[in-house]
């Protein structure tokens, strides 16, 4: 049968590949329109300053636009439902003040991008520079009597937003059980501070917008490199004051998203406004420097964790403080709250920890706004709990693998609600630890460690486990006080006159291969070969509303919608087919491109012809057309949980602190895989991004709020040369609440590498035999940080066994 080769479970090569392999993908910056002009932005060089004056040279008059020139643009406003959340208005072009380096002040138009940049350089802005808020932990110290997280003096009160009482967007507590009782009962207490520093998501294609006014349809057409075209239309309608019917948003090929492109940006509003204002097509293509300054930053989590455990390493309580350095504004639609909320609720991980408290603080600073990036709050939560599990194991003298397993939720206890309120649905978490240890051949690594390395380097192995909430629906987003509730996806399935099928989906695909996998689902339901199926996505014109690709939701939600719409069509095909075969509908089946009855079959192509062109063949009461629209939300609104254990083997140079990654393995369970080849591609891609977080990627800020990474020469991302081949092993526990047992899995790859690698480095450095703890609890684990940790561990004493 056709669908066994191409339906659910088949590693079908992708439909998307052909255009990209010949350079005929169509990315936003590739678009041109007659009369198009190009935009470049004047941006703030200061972290915090009052704008006294903007001077436009006489020759540039009419080509430079400030906020005053575009009064139709409304400030970005977030309709948060989280009680007590401060939510500043964000003018897309700065008015009186700038609050981070890179904030847009004016926009310049010229025939070419180079000339537009020349204009931007000629605009002179007079600033009154103000002190900047750059240390989020210090802000918490200054503003929350309860916090112990930060050391250091309080400084003068500088407010990112005037009128606020402090620089906290929101502070909250997540608790369960009795943390004070756990503290009293504990035989072992382990406390550590963790920092996962600010970084970029860095899709290889930066942001881009091309907009024009289509007079025939009286609409503004906005092409943008976005993960969320439908919600962008919602935003453009609100902030441009237009009816949604007059806005079409198209996400053409998008060169990677990873979260940063799932938010609204000021530039998207401004370019659309200019296209209307000037009545000419306008294009803006971000350069990499702008991207590193102004595309959503991510991580920026600081966390202090105390674990209470018994003498066997069984963790009876965790007390945490989490500070998120969220930057100057909340990004539309959800604001800055998701990071801390997700970190706090995911920190107990896949464990049975009975007592828990997490106080969390989301802090406004004079830095670029924080947005989502693969994993959102989970990588830092995983970093904290998985490092702590290893330290508990060391404190009780047991193998971290065994301590990890002994604390995990066992399969028999599923479904299990964690102490932080996460509803884990199913799976065998301990099996993932064992499988991962097997993939890395743990005994062989231990033997290698005992032999030692000829070059004096130290080998270490580390593991990190997590349960990943995916495809969460209404219940989850309501609990976060989200402004919009992305709890469903949509599909319109349309069989055309010749029996070929078009799936029009509200989701958006930018590398995930949904054009292929959604076809596989329709093939499974209808028996139509994927070669005869088109998937249309990313265009508000051709698709019903949907939220887009983020939160590991697309395959479960859009796949579910495709399944439902396909079944609606299948029912209609069977009714018409039974009529044509002159039998009862209960006697027919739809498979392999035909409806089959007891006395013969009729091809879907023939049924399609009848349904559209020969209505005299339709049964009584059946309307023409083969067109069905369905929405889908999973049966559980709190998400279905994929899980995995990641393992890393490293070699650390004790002189330089340089970490080489020798081996990396993932043992994971994401339920039913529609296309295992694509699943493994997503895992490996996520893992290498996680390796970037672990070892290379950081945007440091100085005390004036100046970001210190403005090019790819000082912002390092992993290349093929630094990464090993990623090993993968699968476990299979289908979800009960989704179609076919699918679980989401897009983000998990990026969640655990920092924790696994830091644990491996800790394991390697244990062989130093230093009197102090040689550990690095801050990402990225740069040579400088690793070397400093080694120095601290020796605490000035002479090092034994030093290789000179």
């Amino acid at each position: 049968m056709a669908h066994e080769r191409s339906g659910i479970g088949a590693s079908l090569p992708r439909k998307e590949d052909a255009r990209h392999l010949v350079g005929r993908g169509e990315f936003t910056a590739d678009l041109k329109a007659p009369g198009m002009i190009e935009a470049a932005f004047v941006r703030s060089p200061h972290a915090h300053a009052r704008i006294r004056n903007i001077a436009v040279p006489p020759e540039a008059k009419g080509c430079v636009f400030t906020a005053a020139d575009l009064p139709q643009i409304r400030p970005i406003r977030i309709a948060t439902q989280a009680a007590g959340m401060k939510s500043p208005l964000w003018p897309p072009l700065a008015t009186d003040k700038v609050r981070y380096v890179g904030e847009a002040i004016a926009v310049c138009l010229a025939p070419t991008r180079a000339e537009a940049e020349d204009l931007a350089n000629a605009v002179m802005v007079d600033f009154e520079v103000l002190p900047a808020v750059v240390d989020a932990a210090r802000e918490v110290r200054a503003n929350s009597a309860r916090s112990e997280i930060a050391r250091g003096p309080q400084d003068g009160r500088v407010l990112v937003h005037e009128g606020w009482s402090d620089n906290l967007y929101i502070e909250r507590v997540v608790e369960g059980g009795d943390i004070a009782a756990a503290a009293r009962a504990a035989a072992i207490t382990v406390t550590r501070e963790f920092r996962m520093n600010r970084q970029s998501g860095l899709p290889l294609e930066g942001r881009a917008v091309v907009a024009w006014h289509d007079h025939r349809l009286d609409e503004i057409v906005v092409h943008a490199s976005t993960q969320t075209p439908h919600t962008m239309r919602v935003a453009l309608a609100e902030f441009l004051g237009l009816e949604a019917r007059r806005i079409r948003v198209v996400a053409p090929d998008v060169g990677g998203g990873f979260g940063p492109k799932a938010r609204l940006y000021p530039e998207e509003i401004i370019i659309a406004a200019l296209a209307l204002h000037c009545d000419r097509p306008v294009r803006w293509v971000e350069d990499r420097g702008e991207h590193l300054l102004t595309a959503a930053h991510t991580r920026g989590h600081y966390c202090r964790v105390t674990a209470y455990a018994d003498r066997d390493g069984r963790i009876i309580g965790v007390d945490a403080e989490i500070v998120v350095d969220a930057g100057a504004y909340g990004m539309w639609p959800q604001g800055p709250y998701s990071e801390a909320a997700m970190a706090a609720r995911n920190l107990p991980g896949p464990y049975t920890i009975p007592n828990y408290r997490a106080r969390h603080y989301t802090v406004a600073t004079n830095k670029g706004p924080l947005g989502p990036y693969r994993g959102v709050g989970r990588p830092s939560a995983c970093f904290a709990i998985e490092r702590i599990v290893d330290e508990v194991a060391r404190a009780v003298g047991r193998d971290p693998v065994e301590v990890r397993i002994s604390n995990m939720v066992p399969p028999a206890a599923m479904p299990f609600t964690t102490v932080a309120g996460m509803h884990l649905d199913n799976g065998d978490y301990a099996a993932s630890v064992r499988l991962c240890a097997e993939l890395l051949d743990l005994p062989a690594v231990r033997a290698r460690q005992s032999r030692g390395e000829a070059d004096g380097r130290l080998v270490g192995i580390g593991f990190a486990s997590f349960a990943e909430q995916t495809a969460h629906g209404a219940a989850e987003f309501v609990s976060r006080g989200a402004a919009i509730i992305p709890g469903y996806e949509s599909c319109t399935a349309r069989i055309l006159t010749d029996g070929s099928l078009v799936l029009m989906v509200g989701i958006q695909s930018h590398g995930q291969g949904l054009e292929t996998t959604l076809s596989q689902i329709a093939a499974h339901e209808l028996g139509i070969d994927p070669a005869h199926i088109s998937v249309r996505h990313g265009d508000t014109e051709s698709t019903a509303f949907g939220f887009g690709t983020f939160a590991s939701r697309s395959m479960v939600m859009a796949g579910g919608a495709v399944a439902r719409a396909s079944r609606m069509l299948r029912d209609k095909l069977c009714r018409i087919g039974a009529h044509l075969l002159q039998c009862d509908v209960a006697e027919v089946q739809c498979a392999d491109g035909a409806v089959r009855g007891p006395r013969g079959e009729v091809a879907i192509a023939e049924i399609a012809r009848v349904a559209h062109l020969r209505m005299d063949g339709l049964p009584p009461g059946v309307e023409p057309l083969l067109d069905a629209t369905a929405t889908y939300e999973p049966a559980i609104g709190t998400g279905v949980f994929s899980y995995a254990t990641h393992g890393a083997v490293v070699a650390v140079d004790p002189e330089t602190g340089f970490v080489e990654l020798l081996d990396f393995a993932v043992a994971e369970d994401c339920g039913t895989m529609v296309n295992p080849m694509i699943v493994e591609g997503q895992i490996r891609g996520g893992v290498v991004q996680g390796i970037g977080t672990a070892l290379y990627e950081e945007i440091p800020y100085d005390e004036q709020g100046q970001p210190q990474a403005g090019t790819l020469a000082d912002y390092l991302v992993p290349s093929a040369a630094e990464t090993p081949a990623i090993k993968i092993g699968h476990l299979h526990t289908p979800a009960v609440a989704t179609e076919y047992g699918m679980k989401g899995m897009g983000e998990g790859g990026a969640v655990a590498p920092p924790a696994a690698i830091a644990n491996a480095v800790r394991d390697a450095l244990a062989a130093l035999g230093a009197p102090g703890r040689a550990e690095v609890n801050e990402t990225p684990l740069t040579p400088r940080r690793v070397a400093a940790a080694i120095e601290r561990a020796w605490a000035g004493r002479p090092r034994q066994g030093r290789v000179d």
């Binding site: 090569p13 992708r14 998307e16 590949d17 052909a18 255009r19 990209h20 392999l21 010949v22 350079g23 005929r24 993908g25 169509e26 990315f27 910056a29 590739d30 041109k32 070419t112 180079a114 860095l202 899709p203 290889l204 294609e205 930066g206 090929d253 998008v254 060169g255 990677g256 990873f258 293509v285 350069d287 990499r288 930018h510 590398g511 995930q512 291969g513 080849m677 694509i678 493994e680 591609g681 895992i683 490996r684 891609g685 996520g686 893992v687 290498v688 991004q689 090019t711 790819l712 020469a713 991302v717 290349s719 093929a720 040369a721 990464t723 081949a725 990623i726 790859g749």
Partner: protein
């Protein structure tokens, strides 16, 4: 403006260009060859890799006027190129691309590795790809696809 003459994907081209126009912008904006992508515009990411006189260069760092009298090949070319044909097929089979943004340049870099006989081992391929960033795939499948194409092409390309 300066008049330049060059061979572009096999065709003779004459064009007047400003001195500061980068080769990548020349290809993309003047000749609609948008398969040459710009990922960083400062010579690190490799997404704009094209061939000039048969050697890979960064399209963002080379000026169009520097290509006067030279031969330029972009991803839209290579129509009868055995190595490129094999690479396109192996990239498809091995799922060596996701968003597709790095892919054209990755193919050109991979073809060059095979041509120079530098695709004989995983280590060699990984080191040879250090100048081309892919943010989606994690490289495992790219490396496998290149090894597969190199093996398929055999000694006639490998080291020839």
């Amino acid at each position: 403006m300066t008049l330049i003459h060059l061979t572009l994907n096999g065709a003779a081209i004459a064009d007047e260009v400003p001195a500061r126009l980068a080769l990548a912008d020349f290809l993309r904006e003047r000749h609609n060859l948008t398969g040459t992508h710009l990922g960083c515009e400062h010579g690190v990411c490799g997404a704009c890799t094209v061939l000039v006189d048969g050697e890979p260069v960064r399209g963002c760092l080379v000026l169009a006027i520097a290509c006067d009298g030279r031969t330029v090949e972009t991803i839209e070319g290579f129509r009868d190129d055995a190595a490129m044909t094999a690479l396109r097929a192996s990239f498809h089979r091995r799922h060596a691309l996701q968003c597709g943004f790095c892919t054209p340049a990755m193919l050109i870099a991979a073809r060059d590795l095979i041509r120079r006989g530098k695709a004989g081992s995983e280590r060699e391929i990984r080191d040879g790809l250090a100048g081309n960033i892919c943010r989606c795939t994690g490289y495992t499948n790219i490396v496998a696809a290149i090894a597969e194409a190199a093996a398929e092409l055999g000694t006639s390309h490998n080291g020839a």
